[in-house]
């Protein structure tokens, strides 16, 4: 069956970097920038156990964007960012409202909020399809394949966002670290954990919106979590984890392109799949936590090595 095209080395591995580099080069770069920005922020989401919030924000930017399009009729970045930030704020407020004012718990409050907002967004883009420059496919998996056609603007924009993210993380490294780990300690050190939290949420919204065009609303979560999760399997020190995140971003973009060329499928989906493959490899082969090492270790350790001397105490 011709579902899976044949794997021709020339076509799949070599061509993207030689004759097609005009298009694939840019796509790889964009993918790398998106994954880096998302992955770096995502590290802190994982540490703070806020992966669900990341999921929520990535869904709820859709109505913000749709409304921004309808109102401003342009694809200008500023309008989009404002729409997304507005949506992010509304989301956070609604979630707080629901779970503080009723006995609905936080997890259900988050689920109800983002799915309703997302539903509104989908309806808007379906009903006003002609006026809004988004369609359902774009929402699901982005249009990273059309990046080469759109000139340098989107890439420059994303590069700025990524650079900003890196800069903020370097500048506020200590504050982010302490408030993620121990908010009590942060308070005693004069760090306002609330400010850090909301700033992180704003940064997250900005990053998510920038990534939206490339990978859509749902795969963004993968970009947020996979790099950091993989890095956490390979290292326990935060600076190293952040570096590994960037490496994961680069590898998954490049390998994703190869996969997409081979199978002729969605590029963003392929990048995420390769990211998941990298995670799987780390999961199995990681030097300390990997499944392989665990299996080996438990086989060598059948007897209790706790000294018998203790039982005489």
């Amino acid at each position: 069956m011709n579902l899976i095209p044949s794997f021709e080395f020339q076509r799949v591995i070599v061509a993207p970097w030689t004759q097609d580099i005009g298009s694939y080069g840019w796509i790889a770069l964009m993918g790398f920038l998106v994954a880096t920005a998302c992955g770096l922020v995502g590290n802190y989401l994982i540490l703070r156990r806020m992966a669900l919030v990341g999921d929520a924000i990535s869904h709820s930017v859709l109505p913000g964007l749709a409304i921004a399009f309808l109102v401003a009729n342009t694809r200008s970045s500023l309008v989009m960012f404002l729409g997304a930030l507005g949506a992010g704020v509304v989301t956070t407020l609604l979630i707080e409202l629901i779970h503080k004012k009723s006995r609905v718990k936080q997890d259900a409050a988050i689920g109800i909020t983002f799915s309703s907002l997302f539903a509104i967004g989908v309806i808007l883009i379906s009903v006003y399809a002609s006026k809004v420059d988004l369609d359902q496919d774009c929402v699901l998996y982005g249009e990273i394949g059309t990046i080469p056609l759109m000139g340098p603007t989107p890439i420059v924009r994303m590069a700025c966002v990524t650079a900003l993210t890196i800069a903020l993380i370097i500048v506020f490294y200590k504050e982010l670290l302490v408030s993620s780990f121990d908010s009590g300690l942060a308070y005693s050190l004069g760090i306002n954990a609330g400010v850090v939290h909301y700033s992180l949420m704003c940064l997250l919204s900005v990053v998510v919106v920038s990534a939206f065009e490339s990978v859509g609303a749902i795969l963004v979560i993968a970009m947020l979590i996979l790099p950091g999760a993989t890095a956490s399997l390979l290292s326990q020190r935060l600076p190293l984890m952040l570096g590994l995140t960037v490496l994961h971003a680069a590898l998954s973009s490049v390998l994703g392109i190869h996969l997409a060329v081979w199978l002729d499928c969605s590029i963003a989906g392929a990048m995420v799949v390769m990211g998941a493959v990298l995670f799987g490899l780390a999961w199995i082969f990681s030097p300390q936590q990997g499944l392989l090492w665990r299996a080996l270790r438990s086989r060598g350790n059948h007897c209790q090595t706790v000294p018998a001397v203790l039982s005489s105490e």
């Binding site: 438990s298 209790q304 000294p307």
Partner: protein, 266 residues
């Protein structure tokens, strides 16, 4: 109350209600319980005391089979725990459930009968009658139809107690039944527990308050990762043994356990 006379007789048989041998529980290479040996005689009200993190809750959960353990075994009335569960009653800590759950006080106490009812079958009139009696014993019968979040802390504790009573067991495990209750409720609970003991039941109660421990219990288990002492209260409640249990310094055992963990051996 529809009493099971059989249970009194079987508690006179030879197998002790609770027998633990060399029980060790470790989380991520850090030991919580170490080499616990215990044989509890029937018809006793046993208090389990020790400092925070001594493993008191872990002990009763492991004994009931709720937690896995690394070595040792547990027998209840001479049988493996799984088979003897129908003779075990459990009163967990209040924090273990979500009190916003849409059930009434009566629903919760009826849950105590589920073990006797078995799979699929419904509670009978008799079960409801028993539940009502247990609620009456803890003086919560007027609250039977109230949803459980509309109760005070002490009342919630009493609901759990009523549920445990409804189980009509021979061996009870109770995790801090007096936490957060006022003095009147506390003495009411104590007299209920003593009533149970006088009927031949065995009770293992995790307790947090030393002075009252001496008053309430016939036997005490002093626990700090391992059994420091176990026996009749007057013999065990001595300054020397208490110091060993609650003393701030690490005992040799804890030090070596720490070394073992750091070296990364299992």
């Amino acid at each position: 109350m529809a009493e099971k006379i059989v249970s009194v007789q079987s508690s006179l048989s030879s197998a002790p209600p609770l027998e633990i041998h060399d029980l060790t529980v470790a989380y991520h290479k850090k030991p919580v319980l170490w080499g616990i040996d215990l044989a509890v005689p029937p018809g006793k009200l046993v208090g389990i005391v020790g400092p925070n993190g001594a493993g008191k809750s872990t002990l009763i959960k492991a004994a009931m089979g709720l937690l896995p353990f690394n070595s040792g075994w547990v027998k209840i009335f001479g049988q493996p725990v799984r088979q003897a569960l129908n003779r075990v009653g459990y009163m967990p800590q209040r924090e273990s459930v979500d009190w916003d759950f849409p059930v009434s006080v009566m629903d919760v106490v009826l849950m105590g009968r589920y073990g006797h009812i078995g799979l699929i079958k419904r509670p009978t009139k008799n079960d409801r009658e028993i539940a009502r009696e247990c609620l009456d014993k803890v003086k919560l019968l007027p609250f039977a139809n109230r949803q459980i979040s509309n109760l005070s802390g002490g009342q919630q504790q009493r609901v759990f107690l009523a549920r445990a009573l409804a189980q009509q067991s021979d061996l009870y495990f109770m995790d801090e039944p007096f936490a957060g209750v006022d003095a009147a409720t506390e003495s009411a609970i104590v007299s209920l527990l003593q009533e149970l003991k006088n009927k031949g039941k065995t009770l293992m109660v995790v307790h947090h308050d030393l002075p009252t421990a001496r008053e309430y219990f016939d036997m005490l288990l002093l626990l700090n990762m391992r059994v420091v002492a176990f026996g009749p209260t007057e013999q065990v409640f001595t300054p020397d043994l208490l110091q060993k249990t609650y003393g701030g310094k690490l005992t040799i055992l804890s030090e070596v356990a720490e070394q073992v963990r750091q070296k990364g051996t299992q």
